[in-house]
Amino acid sequence: MEELKELSEFIKSGEVEKSVDLVRGIIDKLDTKKIVNCMTESMRELGDRFEKKQIFIPELLVASDVITELMPILEPYIQKKKMHKKTIVLGTVEGDMHEIGKNIVSVVLKAEGYNVIDLGTDVSSNTFLQAASDEDAEIVGLSTLMTTTMFIQRDLIVRLNEMNIRSNYFVIIGGAPTSQKWADKIGADAYGEDAFSTAKYLNDMQ
């Protein structure tokens, strides 16, 4: 489909308005799944290029902006066709206002079909726990960019253990200073090095 090729190029170059206009024009004509797949494939292609250090965060960010604008248009169709995978509550831990990495994870997972409950930044452990329960989430995603707030990822897992609900949730952590070693140390289920490896890991689990 010519329109989908064009959409993919718009996504990859961060053309928000052109993407929105295009999708509005084709949404009643095309199978929604094809549009969602186009978004997913475009983000995966960017993920490959990001991994190879051919593109960097600015390119991912502008592409994510496109997906963020397209999701509300596609959401009713996604709901109707029950295309959602698992529910994940996601946020940057308390004391940390960094949002870019978490936002890109949020967008990539949405493009992959997950029901993402994005709690934002500076999220307290109580808010994470409440949201995970309220939303009936299967996955909890904890992001932090600072060495000085990493311990909050650990503390939340301790809380889950103390409340005897640890096994209810798959806990995945991420953020620049974190690592597989840190995930192992604090008892997280997985470490997401970036948005794309997080999506791949969760997809492989499905």
Binding site: L61, T148, F151, A176
Partner: protein
């Protein structure tokens, strides 16, 4: 500078563990020069490192520009709002005089006390221009502008450079032997983007100062090392995600290299064996390369196990 400090220089980026030693709060230390100096003095007296750093506070310059800051009792300060969204918004910001604005005078007093009382190299932090731009405009907004609004970003970077230069100059005049520029947000950029939106401004700051400058960028900066060298900095501090071997090859021998023990997994929450292994590896590197300073990859968390820090320094006795 560091060359007369023994065969292997040791200087982790530590400040926050001093708060644990002094049994004070982050807020007290970030707002009160005497409290911060006392916390740093406890670290200095306990370890006698080859260099002491001031406490890492990335909100200080933004506050002096007139930005509202959140100041919780016991965690790092952060910017509440990012009001600069267009070039005209820069007019609403202050042109801070370091002697009077915000907590800059407090930072000047800390470094002045350090220079009077610590018999080591005293290093003061300032934020980098791209990171300050991210605080003023919001990180997403600033990073998006790298591709979408270069003119806006250039204006905000020029402003940031002026603020940082003025503060760095005042710190050097008040006793800082070295300025360390912290530019964590630039870790998001490609080498070309870093050069255009950070390195050129950092170079102008460095060229205007009379004291040496260390450049620190958090995270995996393997691809940025060449451009970091191009800023004319005196030293480069690398985080634990950077391969030391790669850094040693990339960074000219006349530049100092600081790094890069994992501050969290090893120094803060690791065990003695992990510290021994990391120290051994870096000692070997330090023995092979001149101008190498064994340091942490980034700032140590406040709840760093003090026994671990004790053990780390004992490795060099």
């Amino acid at each position: 500078m560091m060359e007369n400090l023994g065969s292997i220089a040791v200087a982790p980026l530590m400040g926050l563990p001093g708060i644990t030693l002094s049994k004070t709060t982050v807020k007290d230390n970030f707002e009160n020069a005497d409290v911060q100096f006392r916390s740093l003095a406890l670290l200095y007296e306990r370890y006698h490192p080859d260099a002491m750093f001031t406490m890492m506070d990335l909100s200080l310059e933004a506050e002096a520009c007139g930005i509202e800051i959140m100041k919780p009792e016991n965690r790092g300060f952060s910017v509440r709002h990012h009001p600069v969204k267009k070039i005209d918004d820069l007019r609403n910001l202050k042109s801070p005089n370091p002697l009077h604005e915000g907590r800059m005078p407090m930072a000047l007093k800390v470094i002045e006390n350090m220079s009077k009382h610590f018999d080591c190299t005293n290093i003061a932090y300032v934020i980098g221009p791209f990171t300050l731009a991210c605080l003023l405009a919001g990180a997403s907004y600033a990073i998006r502008s790298v591709l979408k609004d270069k003119d806006f970003l250039a204006h905000i970077l020029h402003y940031s450079k002026r603020v940082i230069y003025g503060f760095a100059k005042a710190l050097s005049e008040n006793g800082a032997n070295i300025i360390c520029i912290l530019e964590p947000s630039a870790g998001a950029l490609s080498p070309e983007q870093f050069k255009a939106n950070s390195a050129v401004y950092i170079k102008e700051i460095i060229d205007g100062l009379t004291v040496p400058v260390i450049l620190h960028i958090c995270g995996d900066t393997n691809v940025l090392l060449d451009e970091m060298v191009g800023t004319n900095c005196w030293g480069i501090s690398i985080d634990s995600q950077v391969s030391v071997k790669h850094a040693v090859e990339q960074i000219p021998k006349d530049l100092y290299l600081f790094g890069n023990i994992d501050p969290v997994n090893v120094l803060a929450y690791g065990d003695f064996n992990e510290i021994d292994t990391a120290v051994l590896e870096l000692r070997e590197m330090a023995n092979k390369r001149e101008n190498y300073v064994i340091s942490s990859g980034c700032d140590l968390p406040m709840d760093t196990n003090i026994d671990n820090l004790d053990h780390f320094f004992k490795c060099f006795e």
